[in-house]
Amino acid sequence: MRDENIRILVAKIGLDGHDRGGLIIAQALKNAGMEVIYTGLKNTSENVVEMAIQEDVDIIGISILSGAHLVLMPILMDELKKNNADDIPVIVGGVIPPGDIPKLKAMNVREVFPAGSQVVEAVAFIRRLVQERRKSTRAS
């Protein structure tokens, strides 16, 4: 069977004006054969969840460089739960201090890619995660 296109939402939430990182990862994921829905800057968590549901994405990638990840991510994860969409896995990339990574993972963020991460690592991780999820959701 043909390898199905992975659909990923690359989103920026909160007051964060830096989108270079998000755009670079969006291009890299596109070049890896994925369909990337890019949200643009300064979205609310509500908007991001609405987009993820309408676009029926396989995974959500949040880019944060504002330092507000420990405030914004719980809101997003709650919003996903409220909309019965917490089966969509979430990953985070950006300026994340090493000490905060376990805190994000405790909120059920599946992986964190801090500054200095390799794009190929992210691509491989996303592929693996999406394939696992598809196996379990489509079999049921």
Binding site: E46, M51, Q54, N84
Partner: protein
């Protein structure tokens, strides 16, 4: 509730998942479409096309907002190109539609063209049917940025908007024969830039060269200046879109447009299914395999081969007609 009832009730999650199934040609979806089909035909399908960078996405967003003010529910299908190399795509249209966020009566979906060459994606027609059935009054379909030949939208939409911007003067000359002909409304967007009036004048001249439209259609496409910075022209465009639909209905063109669209759709599905079925048969039937090999070995030319198959179909039809006559006697 089953899937059909959920979509009829406008359940966002069910609509989104069914569109995904259409995109990956999931066999389950054919069953769903069969159920949905008789309930379609209520939505006004509006195509928005034009070269890259003229502001189609922003305009779609503004127009959708205007239609919401008029209490119409709106579906949006935004198509962006897939990379011919990786198959991936960067779908950025909805980044320009943030103002519509949070409105439960607006459903936005980004589609990658996935190799389709006519400015749309293979899934867009079925996706429009799904939004139609979910109760959306208007479905806005934004094509990829087009050049001169991508006119598939004209076979799908009831009303086609061609969006241009100041500075397209020379390009317009080349467009005379191509994409200009499918436009029901001509828009000079980014009218806040200099040269908008000149662009309108050029469009009007090109329109003069075109002469009358084919057949009985006497609609003359209005030329409207717009700007999404200050909202100039948006009300006029929304008005023209609704007026065109009224015109199409009054003149009795709606039925013809719908029939043409469905005939094309049927032919696309039919040829695809014939291909699929034939490829399946070739794999399992040694006789057919040998017959196909004859074409490859230059013993049988492909035209005669195709004629032989059509002859078989014709004979089968005549036999069926004869047997029906006999049973009637």
């Amino acid at each position: 509730m089953n899937l059909f009832e959920k979509i009829k009730a406008g359940d966002i999650c069910s609509i989104a998942r069914l569109i995904s199934k259409v995109e990956r040609r999931d066999p389950e979806v054919i069953k769903a479409i069969k159920e949905i089909y008789p309930h379609c035909g209520n939505a006004h399908l509006i195509g928005i096309t034009g070269p890259p960078g003229v502001g189609k996405s922003c305009l779609v967003s503004e127009l959708a907002g205007k239609f919401r003010e008029k209490n119409r529910t709106v579906g949006i299908l935004a198509v962006d190109p897939s990379s011919p190399f990786s198959g991936g795509a960067l779908l950025g249209d909805r980044a320009r539609m943030i103002e519509l966020a949070g409105d439960k009566d607006v459903f936005i979906r980004s589609l990658a063209s996935r190799g389709a060459s006519g400015g749309l994606s293979a899934a867009v027609s079925d996706a429009a049917d799904i939004l139609d059935m979910s109760g959306k009054d208007l479905v806005l379909i934004e094509t990829v940025g087009v050049g001169q030949g991508e006119v598939d939208i004209a076979r799908l939409a009831h009303t086609v908007l061609l969006v241009l911007m100041p500075g397209y003067g020379d390009a317009l000359q080349a467009m005379k024969a191509g994409i200009m002909e499918i436009a029901d409304i001509l828009i000079v967007n980014k009218a806040d830039l200099s040269g908008a009036d000149e662009a309108v004048a050029e469009l009007s001249t090109v329109q003069g060269f075109q002469g009358m439209r084919e057949g009985q259609d006497k609609w003359v496409a209005p030329i409207i200046k717009s700007s999404t910075l200050d909202g100039e022209g948006i009300e006029d465009i929304a008005g023209a879109v609704l007026k065109h639909f009224e015109y199409v209905k009054e003149q009795g063109f709606l039925r013809k447009k719908n029939r043409d669209r469905r005939t094309n759709q049927f032919l696309d599905i039919f040829t695809q299914q014939i291909r699929d079925e034939f490829m399946r048969l070739v794999k399992v039937d040694a006789g057919i395999q040998r017959w196909v090999d004859k074409i490859g070995d230059l013993e049988l030319d492909p035209y005669s081969a195709s004629e032989q198959v059509i002859e078989l179909l014709r004979n089968a039809r005549e036999q069926e007609r004869d047997s029906r006559k006999r049973t009637r006697k």
